[in-house]
């Protein structure tokens, strides 16, 4: 990619904003570039960032998935409450949660791909069903974490202590999972024909069909993938919180979609990069985590996030307008 294109990209602007924001926070508080703060940010970043990967796949095909918080909560709660003391290591818990997520994801995918129903409505429906089952059938409530998962949650890669405040933050093992998933997402989108198919469907479904892509298969795959990862992330989240909070993830879909849009993932499909979505999420997390450092009451957090979303969307809309204009001018020149 050449320099000119890089400077024009959404990713570049978001990165620039992040950089400026970090410097402002650092100047104001002197606390931003401290070990424990950075660890805290990465910790808060990891779960939503993982959700971002699955959501991105879906948005690039022109759909949207709002069911992943429900899928994650349901699989997490079922696994933690029903399989207590079944196994001594955490792996089976993760696998069962992934299977539950996969099943709901396939259901989403098949309904959306086969009946061509709007993805928002279908996933809203499955979301409600999942929360309903969790609350009705499994009587969800706060629940202690079983021993193997607790052990897994207490494992740390390293710790960072702030010499001034004496606060210590731990880097959870889950971060490794996040890095793996982000790389996997990038690899699928950029290096496989499956990824090209995802972009192709977002560009023009009919053309994708005529080109010979298995549109049904690809759509089922992305929703199944999103669901499966949601299962995994649900359990991971509980290990990071060291307790089972069934309603903790509600509302996460807005943050994740906002991060995608902010990072240049086009809501109508066809455009978006892993880097962009990650930067978008980083920006939201930094704002979220750092308002306190700036001495701003957390009450203002929502206002800030809302404003950032509007500004981010407006910026990309203006860019589209500018391109249209440019095209018109090009044609004018051709007419001389």
């Amino acid at each position: 990619m050449n320099l000119q294109k890089t400077v024009k990209s959404t990713e570049f602007y978001v990165a620039l904003i992040i950089l400026l924001l970090c410097m402002v926070i650092q100047m104001k508080s002197g606390q931003f570039f401290t070990g424990n703060n950075l660890v805290d940010i990465v910790r808060a970043f990891s779960v939503p960032a993982m959700f971002c990967i699955g959501e991105m796949f879906v948005i690039i095909t022109g759909g949207v998935d709002v069911s992943f918080p429900a899928i994650a909560s349901l699989s997490m709660f079922v696994v933690c409450s029903q399989l207590e003391d079944v196994a001594a290591n955490p792996l089976p818990y993760f696998l069962v949660a992934m299977l539950i997520g996969l099943a709901v994801g396939i259901l989403n995918g098949v309904i959306i791909a086969h009946f061509k129903f709007p993805a928002l409505i279908v996933t809203l429906g499955t979301s409600s069903i999942c929360f309903g089952i969790m609350q009705g059938v499994f009587k969800s409530r706060e629940y202690p974490l079983c021993a193997p998962l607790k052990e897994f949650g207490e494992m740390n890669l390293f710790s960072a202590t702030n010499p001034v405040s004496g606060l210590t933050s731990n880097m959870p093992v889950g971060v490794v999972l996040m890095i793996v998933l982000v790389f996997f997402g990038w690899f699928i989108l950029n290096r496989t024909m499956l990824g090209r198919g995802i972009y192709a469907i977002g560009g023009d479904v009919k053309a994708a069909q005529r080109a010979g892509f298995n549109v049904f298969g690809i759509l089922v795959f992305i929703y199944a993938f999103s669901g499966c990862m949601a299962g995994l992330i649900g359990v991971l989240r509980s290990t990071m919180l060291l307790a089972v909070h069934p309603n903790n993830l509600e509302g996460m879909e807005m943050t994740v979609i906002a991060a995608c849009v902010l990072g240049g993932v086009r809501m109508t499909g066809g455009k978006g990069s892993v880097l962009g979505a990650m930067l978008g999420m980083a920006l939201l997390i930094i704002v979220d985590n750092s308002l306190i450092l700036l001495g701003i009451s957390t009450i203002w957090k929502k206002v800030f996030i809302g404003a950032i979303i509007i500004i981010g969307t407006a910026a990309s809309a203006i860019e589209v307008k500018r391109n249209e204009r440019k095209l018109a001018i090009k044609m004018n020149e051709g007419g001389k």
Binding site: N190, G203, A211, G335
Partner: protein, 494 residues
Amino acid sequence: MSDYIIKATDIKKYFGGVKALDGVNIEIKKGEIHCLAGENGCGKSTIINIISGFYTPDSGTIEIDGMKYEKMNPKQAIANGVQVIYQDLSLFPNLTVMENLAINMEVAASRKFVSKTRMRKIAEEAIAKIGFEIDLDETVENLTVGMRQMIAISRALLNDAKLIIMDEPTTAITKREVKALFKIIKQLQAQGIAVLFVSHKLDEVFEIAERFTIFRNGKNVAAGNTKELDQNKFTYYMTGREIVSSRYEYTRENAPTVLEVKNLSLKNGFKDVSFCLKQGEIIGITGLLGSGRTELAETLFGYHVADSGQILIEDKPVEIRSIKAAIEHGIGYLPSDRVTEGLFLSQPIADNISIEKWHEYANCLGKIDRTKVEEMTRYWAKELSIALHNIEDPVGTLSGGNQQKCVLAKWLAIDLKVLILNGPTVGVDIGAKFDIYELVKRLAKQGLTVIIISDDLPEVLTNCNRVMVMRSGRLVETLSTQSLEESHLAELAN
């Protein structure tokens, strides 16, 4: 070996009891340019889908290069060198030129991983076939329709094409791009590739095709050499009726001025445009896409606000700062894209036609009197001979010509002084086209002033009494159409 690349004989195709094709024949020789013409719904797209293997005919045989097929699937058609370029081009606007060119080949080869070097090689090979230069890393959505078409053609050539079917390739591109396209088609012919060119524009058929086939209502009505064809025969074959078109004669030299524009300018649109229209005049505006003609129309209709200049209606200066203001001053606008700008496709025909009258039909609580809506819809449907089953059907179920008549009806229902038509007959059948011409002339005789913006020079010449030519945002010439030659106008416009 046979002389014919494709020979389809006695093809019949039904869709749930509806006859789409009723025993049609089409024969295309190797390396010839063949034109398929016919009105909407005559079975053109059905036969294309049969030749390309997407539909299976209910009876009849297809012979490709001497090989007989009763059933053929798309893969077999492609293997035999049949390629279709659809009207929508089947490109991915969000991907790069390179990916668009190479992706079909890569999918066909069941590749699992992306290789940029391999894709680039395929793409370079593709554009070399028609000697076309383009930045392979540009995103397709940033390109003009003409360039996109070239990409679709180069992509089709990759699979050793022997027959390329182009479905109405000239509807969305400029005159200049049509010329470039025709050059490419001739070039393909020189390489021995046959082209089936679907069009209902006679001048194009004459210019490019050697032989033609015309369908009407799923039947063959004529086939032969284009040399034997003329305008009257062509229209007769397409519509089944004799249509005589006469030039519009404007006789009311003393009529009052209705619209006057003085030094009107819009940034990135047009500059210093001045003209004066009398009551009952039909004036044409022609020029290339991007010449500022659409922006001018949209400014008169209040969609853009002019940066400087003056608009006078009936000699009184007026401010047109919104569409509402334009309508209040009696200006109506039929947009070039009726589907996105002129109609609510999924809404009933009645609502689409009556929308400008709603405030009149509503009572004090805002409830609309449906009997009045129905009455007026029936009146206008009859007046404009709109072919419809039920006035509550969505307007999207009508053909292009009838949709256009609905947009017209909407404006005619309110008292207009000036009606601006932007490309009124694009994508409209010949039959409906002449209905629209007759209607416009009748209205002008009754005192309506009409502006027709169009690329179609014969359309401008026969229907307008004056024509203005725009180039790069400026009004370069205003001419009377009396004794104006088409070739002269074409020169000015390009």
